[in-house]
């Protein structure tokens, strides 16, 4: 199981490693977005660059963060693997509850960004560029944030049986 939780040589069963991955990925996405923003001139380029960010976010969603893909990093969160490589691991009630909650938190943030971007681009604010940037940010986060939150919040995964049972904290 632990071997399947490796990504770029890092042990993703450890939360600290997963947090590094999330932080580095979002910094990279931010840098890419800023670069495209400075390059974008006309409307056609802006649409092309937005599509590029969309494709990059899909890549992050499926490959880097895992998410819904059978080849993803967080494979245990994928209930039915087409590859059948981890059929013994299914989502139980705790996994599903945690996953649902992270989606709820993520989409609350995404909806807030969309609403903010919409209003900032119109009267009386008249900041269309800021509004568009927020909308593109919402697009990226909508595709990646639930998985990122799961990676960030899930504690270290245990794979070995402790020698002595852990007793509940009083």
């Amino acid at each position: 199981m632990r071997d399947r939780m490796r990504f770029l040589g890092m042990d993703m069963a450890r939360r600290s490693n997963r947090r590094w991955l999330v932080a580095v990925t979002y910094v990279a996405l931010l840098a890419l977005g800023a670069t495209l923003w400075t390059l974008g001139g006309n409307r056609g380029e802006a649409i092309a660059f937005t599509l590029l960010l969309l494709v990059t976010s899909l890549f992050v969603n499926q490959i880097v963060f895992g998410g819904y893909g059978c080849w993803g990093l967080i494979r245990p969160f994928n209930t039915n693997s087409p590859l059948g490589s981890h059929a013994s691991r299914h989502n139980d009630e705790r996994d599903l509850r945690r996953r649902d909650r992270m989606h709820f938190y993520a989409y609350r943030i995404v909806v807030s960004l969309i609403v903010l971007g919409y209003f900032l681009g119109r009267d009386p604010f008249q900041h269309p560029q800021v509004g568009n940037a927020l909308l593109v940010g919402a697009l990226i986060l909508g595709l990646t944030l639930p998985q990122a939150l799961l990676l960030w919040i899930e504690p270290d995964m245990e794979f070995e049986e402790p020698a002595v049972p852990e007793y509940p904290r009083a």
């Binding site: 009630e93 245990e158 049986e161 852990e166």
Partner: protein, 80 residues
């Protein structure tokens, strides 16, 4: 609401691994760890499954109040 439990004690008494207990009640063994540490409150269905597996009432496994340690109980035969 925090739910306390005696899962670790019951599992140790029966000499079960987390994997075995998890398989018996159809959850992932990491969830057993979360339950034992008190980091997760089970659904009623899971609580019933655990109760049935151990053959004890639910209130013998789960409680809204901390369980008293066994050493605090009066020793057998030491009463009046």
């Amino acid at each position: 609401m925090r739910i306390y439990n005696r899962l670790a004690v019951l599992r140790a008494e029966r000499g079960l691994t987390r994997q075995e207990l998890a398989g018996a009640v159809n959850v992932n063994y990491q969830t057993i760890g979360f339950l034992e540490r008190g980091d997760y409150g089970p659904s009623l269905a899971l609580a019933f499954a655990l109760s049935e597996f151990f053959g004890v009432p639910i209130e013998a496994i789960f409680s809204p109040r901390p369980f008293e340690p066994l050493k605090a109980w009066p020793a057998a035969g030491s009463g009046p």
